[in-house]
Amino acid sequence: MKVSHMEITVNDQTYSVDVEPEMPLLWVLRDELGITGPKYGCGIAQCGACTVHVNGYAVRSCQLAVGDLGSSKVSTIEGLGTPDSLHVVQESWIEHQVAQCGYCQSGQIMQAASLLSTNPNPSDDQIDAAMSGNLCRCGTYPRIKAAVKSAAKKLQGS
């Protein structure tokens, strides 16, 4: 495929890139734009480390060709909250001190935020199902689950 000029919107900023349309979004984010929150783990949708939001829904950015984005808006962990105004999932992550090495964590947080945006009060089973595609080699799963539950509680206002 030939290099194309395209504009993509990431974290409410528009960027111009000259890349092959079939380049995975993850490569564009990390190597072209220097947005390194999304991580490369497997490249084949098996680990979740590269998870970002496209129009608010979790997507494995290693699986999405940048040419297929169209006018969709991308958000990464860098755009989820700010240090002064954290996203509720980020707040809960800090309260539960979820991260260990941290490599998987941006993907975990983006997946959890996507779940809570469509299902603000998920059951334990629904949390397990939603988060099972995000692997953590450090085994932080119990803390991830606890943090997702606290974030859901905050969203319920209790």
Partner: protein, 209 residues
């Protein structure tokens, strides 16, 4: 719960515009009325069953179970989709994790989209499980036949409309071009469409009629 259902309803309606563009190469030409005998219709049905019961199709037609199945050279035998995937009532995973999180939407067909072994296959529409009524996984030829000819369980379609549905829903085309080391569904999409049309003209016979 009400919020969840509203969100899922919205999501399904937002995502459902993804079913686009028929394959121009597929011809929908039913045989003339009365030109297909019941015996020929049953032969056509046996080939339709070969397709419906093939893993490329049956693995996502799991009926009351919302768990897609995996099978093929990499798995040895058929097993439940990894990662605890549950497509839910929405059939697109809206309650937990959308199928399209990994099975991302392509804007159009391009070569090599599905050539990477073990990567999630992609088509130019939202990945999803078939509706609950379209229950094929592990079912007999008679059970699938009766489901497919009954408008109450086939989306209120006659055979011609089933053929048109096959032409329009691009996720179904993937079964014949699955990429990677996946085995495609038998025959070709055109042959399958021809069989559906012939079966319809024969009066949608089933083996135990």
């Amino acid at each position: 719960m009400k919020n969840l259902h509203t969100a899922i309803g919205l999501l399904v309606s937002v995502m459902s515009f993804g079913a686009i563009a028929a394959d121009d190469n597929v011809q929908i030409k039913p045989p003339a009325a009365g030109s297909v005998s019941q015996q020929q219709g049953l032969l056509a049905w046996s080939r339709i069953f070969d397709v419906a019961s093939h893993p490329r199709c049956a693995n996502c037609h799991t009926g009351p179970s919302d768990r897609p199945m995996w099978s093929g050279p990499s798995y040895g035998k058929t097993r439940v989709h990894g990662m605890n995937i549950q497509a839910g009532k929405s059939r697109i995973g809206a309650e937990t994790i959308l199928c399209s999180t990994c099975h991302t939407n392509k804007s159009e067909d391009w070569d090599k989209a599905n050539t990477v072994n073990h990567a999630a296959p992609r088509v130019a529409m939202s990945w999803q499980l078939a509706p609950e009524d379209a229950f094929w996984f592990g079912r007999t030829t008679q059970q699938i036949c009766e489901q497919l000819r009954n408008p109450e369980t086939n989306g209120n379609r006659d055979a011609l409309e089933i053929a048109e549905h096959l032409n329009h829903d691009l996720i179904l085309h993937w079964a014949w071009a699955p990429g990677g080391n996946r085995e495609p569904a038998p025959y070709s999409l055109q042959e399958h469409v021809n069989d559906i049309l012939a079966w319809g003209v024969a009066g949608t016979p089933c083996p135990e009629d």
